[in-house]
């Protein structure tokens, strides 16, 4: 019976668990319930991905009202793939949360943490699988409010300013998206994405639609922290609790990249966005500046969480660069990197959180000598770091490989070289931390005997993510099949529309 409801379940599981968790309050039960919900949602996402790969897109009419009158959930290879990454990683971070937040969040606020976490998950899943442009905005609101709350929960008071900044920028982004959707609605009279696509095709080049496109692109770019609209991100990831940084870095910006892809390819159509409006050059330029500027910024920071945050902005640059190449391979590279980056960044932030758990600091010098004291944590950090750099046999290599070959396909030698140079910068910022961990002793005055390995409940999820990095670096059949389908569909979406009608 549940099979037909899979799309709804993906959103409803966390959505219904959140209020229940809030009523139950703080206790281990809440953690168990949240983790169980996350695990179930991941299984649902996996089933959805298998179904879409085998049978094509799934349409689910909420309330039994067919689109465009009612709201429809539309699951295809693209969003099922991102959904799997989001739910899978969030579940692992939930497992990790128990020990981590015990150290970093006031005990009275644990109930708030799990409630907000599940709400954010529900919001992100909703954004991913809804087929309705306004419904997307509603879920964007849910996930945004919940993530601002999550950032503000840390014991470090500086998280409040960071959360406030995030809130202001995020709200501006959401408002821009709403204005854009409003302009589209004004011109087309519909909110369903496929219906919008069909009707926009009749109106493109109208000033109202152009403005709608501009507002949506700017709004989504704030949400995905595209350079130069990224300035809310480093403080938010630095001062948020480690578990929250791990969750946000691997899900929130990734979902925003998905929204960008969905709006460009499904709703507006790549021809209109890239050939008529020339957005590909804008994206390419900003992506390359993001890769270099933010990798450089990462290399000169002293706080490891800030380093990883700047690295995230640079990695978003790679995703956008893939999209801006406007080829199937380029889009595949962008999509694979969404998935792979979620795997590596969650592992890295988990390792940093484990060091904080023992040392109480996330400065680079706090990592000195940790290679000996916390061998498993630092090994995890090193492998995930190699994945960020793009070393063969890690997931990061697959992303870079597709990206470089996409650039070479179009004879963009300069771009290919720039991608490789960007990886060199990643060696610098990851290398500094690894060097501190393995080639320095624990500083004087710090009692080395107290710096033990992190608790098992932190190590297990961390190593699950690390092993996933290795697995998807070696066996790429699932990822390439999913993104292959997704990008082919996206480029044919205009033709698909005609079939659907």
């Amino acid at each position: 019976m549940l099979e037909q409801h899979l799309p709804a379940l993906a959103i409803l599981l966390p959505l219904i668990a959140a209020p229940i968790v809030f009523i139950l309050g703080r206790s281990t039960v809440v953690w168990l319930l949240a983790t169980f919900t996350g695990a179930w949602a991941s299984i649902v996402a996996f089933q959805l991905l298998l179904t879409t790969l085998a049978e094509g897109a799934i349409h689910y009419s909420l309330g039994g009202w067919s689109a465009p009158w009612g709201i429809e959930l539309t699951v295809d290879a693209l969003n099922a793939f991102v959904l799997l990454a989001v739910t899978g990683v969030s579940t692992m971070v939930l497992v990790y949360s128990k020990e981590s937040i015990a150290k970093e969040i006031d005990k009275a606020k644990h109930g708030f943490y799990y409630t907000a976490y599940l709400l954010a998950m529900a919001g992100l899943s909703g954004i991913l699988i809804t087929g309705d442009a306004f419904n997307l905005f509603v879920f964007l609101e849910i996930s945004s409010l919940a993530t601002y709350t999550l950032v503000s929960l840390a014991s470090d008071r500086r998280c409040l300013t960071a959360a406030f900044r995030y809130l202001i920028m995020g709200t501006i982004g959401a408002t821009f998206i709403l204005i854009g959707v409003g302009l589209l609605y004004m011109k087309t009279g519909t909110l369903n994405m496929l219906d919008l696509a069909e009707r926009i095709a009749a109106f493109d080049r109208s000033r109202t639609i152009n403005t709608g496109l501009a507002f949506i692109v700017v709004g989504v770019s704030i949400k995905l922290a595209l350079f130069p609209l990224h300035r809310w991100l480093p403080p938010a990831y630095t001062y948020a609790p480690s578990a929250v940084s791990s969750f946000l870095a691997s899900t929130a910006t990734k979902v925003a990249v998905y929204v960008l892809i969905r709006f460009i390819f499904t709703i507006f159509g790549p021809d209109y966005v890239f050939y008529d409006m020339g957005m590909d050059m804008v994206f390419m330029f900003l992506a390359i500046v993001a890769i270099f500027k933010c990798s450089y910024m990462a290399a000169v920071q002293n706080n490891v969480k800030t380093i990883l945050a700047f690295s995230s902005v640079a990695q978003v640059g790679y995703m956008v660069l893939g999209i801006s190449l406007v080829t199937t391979t380029g889009l595949m590279a962008g999509l694979i990197h969404i998935f792979n980056h979620a795997l590596m960044k969650s592992a890295l932030f988990m390792a940093v959180g484990a060091v904080f758990y023992r040392v109480g600091s996330v400065e680079v010098h706090a990592f000195k000598g940790m290679g000996k004291q916390m061998p498993f944590t630092m090994a995890a950090f090193t492998i995930a770091g190699l994945s960020i750099i793009g070393v063969p046999l890690t997931a990061g290599f697959v992303s870079k490989w597709y990206l470089v070959s996409a650039a070479l396909q179009q004879n963009l030698w300069v771009i290919a070289v720039l991608i490789l140079l960007g990886s060199l910068l990643a060696i610098v910022y990851i290398g500094r931390i690894v060097e501190a961990a393995y080639f320095h002793d624990v500083p004087e005055g710090r009692d080395a005997s107290k710096l033990k390995e992190a608790p098992l409940l932190m190590l297990i999820p961390m190593w699950v993510m690390v092993l996933a990095n290795l697995y998807f670096g070696i066996d790429t059949s699932l990822t390439t099949e999913a993104v292959g389908h997704a990008s082919e569909w996206l480029f044919q979406s205009t033709e698909l529309l005609e079939v659907a009608q």
């Binding site: 209020p19 809030f22 465009p68 709400l119 879920f139 011109k187 009279g189």
Partner: protein, 328 residues
């Protein structure tokens, strides 16, 4: 012609209020102007025949949010701090955004034209078939609660999420140990006491009317929840928070808000158990029309409960903070 004139006057007032807000340094006056801004917007919505929206704007924008902003000022102080940043870049960004919006209006469908896409595509079915399919005279409620019921569930969760956010920051209000004494609140203002006692029952009655009459006229759970919360906020302001806590305690509100969301979602789940899609009300009763009716009444109750609990919960959290800062 008169309608256009009214619109122009109202829009002019709106622009003047907004300009004044930018230049004022006194935050108390700014909050009052915000309230006026919402009220004028509500009038514009009425002129556009969007009565439900106007109702919400008046209740939320002009009502509750003004109270909450005043609560914030009580905590932070009344005057704006000097801004040391240069604001030229900001001004440029705002001007570009404004210019883009004006550019976007140039191909806009003509204002109020019946041939516009928004009136021609999905709207005809809502207008012609909803009395049959959903069975409610108020089309707005049909769209919000049934056709697009999933959005409304989402909005209810947004309200819940906002409550979670504020409570996690301000801390949950715990009932004070001291007995409720008449000294708390505006005890000396006899006139306020008498007037409040007279009008509070009517406000609550009106809230119930709006809650249950939303199917027929403007209104529904959102507005009703806000109005009911306003009644208790008035009570708390005049007689003191500890008296209000005795009627509805903060702890109860922390249960009501999630319960409303669950109530809403459970209606959808029952539909799923009965073999239909999530939020399909047709299968809830023997006939589709009765099912729609039951479904909408229950989800509106869920919305009302969450909105009431969230609004009052936010007020409690603020007043608790103000009291704490007064003690220190």
């Amino acid at each position: 012609m008169t309608e256009v004139l009214i619109d122009l006057v109202l829009l002019g007032m709106l622009a003047m209020t907004a300009l004044r807000v930018i230049f004022l340094k006194d935050l108390f006056a700014v909050v009052m102007l915000f309230s006026i801004f919402s009220f004028v917007s509500a009038l514009i919505f009425i002129n556009l025949d969007a009565v439900d929206v106007a109702f919400t704007e008046a209740a939320v924008g002009a009502g509750i949010s003004t109270v909450l902003m005043l609560g914030t000022i009580a905590l932070t102080g009344r005057t704006e701090k000097k801004n040391s940043h240069s604001s030229i870049l900001h001004l440029v960004v705002v001007c570009v955004t404004g210019a883009a919006l004006i550019y976007g209006t140039m191909d806009m469908p003509p204002f109020g034209n019946a041939d516009n896409p928004i009136h021609q595509h999905v709207a005809p079915r809502y207008i012609e078939d909803s009395p049959k399919e959903v069975g409610l005279p108020n089309i707005v409620t049909s769209v919000l609660a049934s056709y697009r019921g999933f959005d409304t569930l989402g909005e209810t969760v947004v309200v819940f999420a906002a409550m979670i956010g504020v409570l996690s920051l301000l801390g949950t209000a715990r009932p004070t140990n001291k007995r409720a004494t008449p000294e708390s609140g505006l005890a000396k203002h006899r006139v306020l006491h008498v007037v409040a006692k007279i009008i509070i029952p009517f406000i609550i009655l009106f809230a119930l009317y709006v809650q249950f009459h939303g199917d027929y006229g403007p209104g529904g759970g959102f507005q009703a929840g806000v109005i009911a919360a306003a009644a208790l906020i008035l009570y708390a302001l005049v007689f003191g928070a500890s008296f209000a806590h005795r009627i509805v305690s903060p702890r109860q509100l922390e249960v009501f808000a999630p319960l409303g969301v669950l109530l809403y979602a459970s209606v959808g789940l029952v539909g799923m158990i009965k073999g239909a899609n999530f939020l399909d009300y047709n299968v809830l009763a023997s006939t589709a029309a009765a099912g729609q009716h039951y479904g909408i009444i229950i989800i509106e109750l869920g919305v009302g409960l969450t909105v009431f609990a969230a609004m009052l919960g936010l007020f409690y959290a603020f007043s608790n903070q103000v009291e704490r800062s007064n003690v220190q």
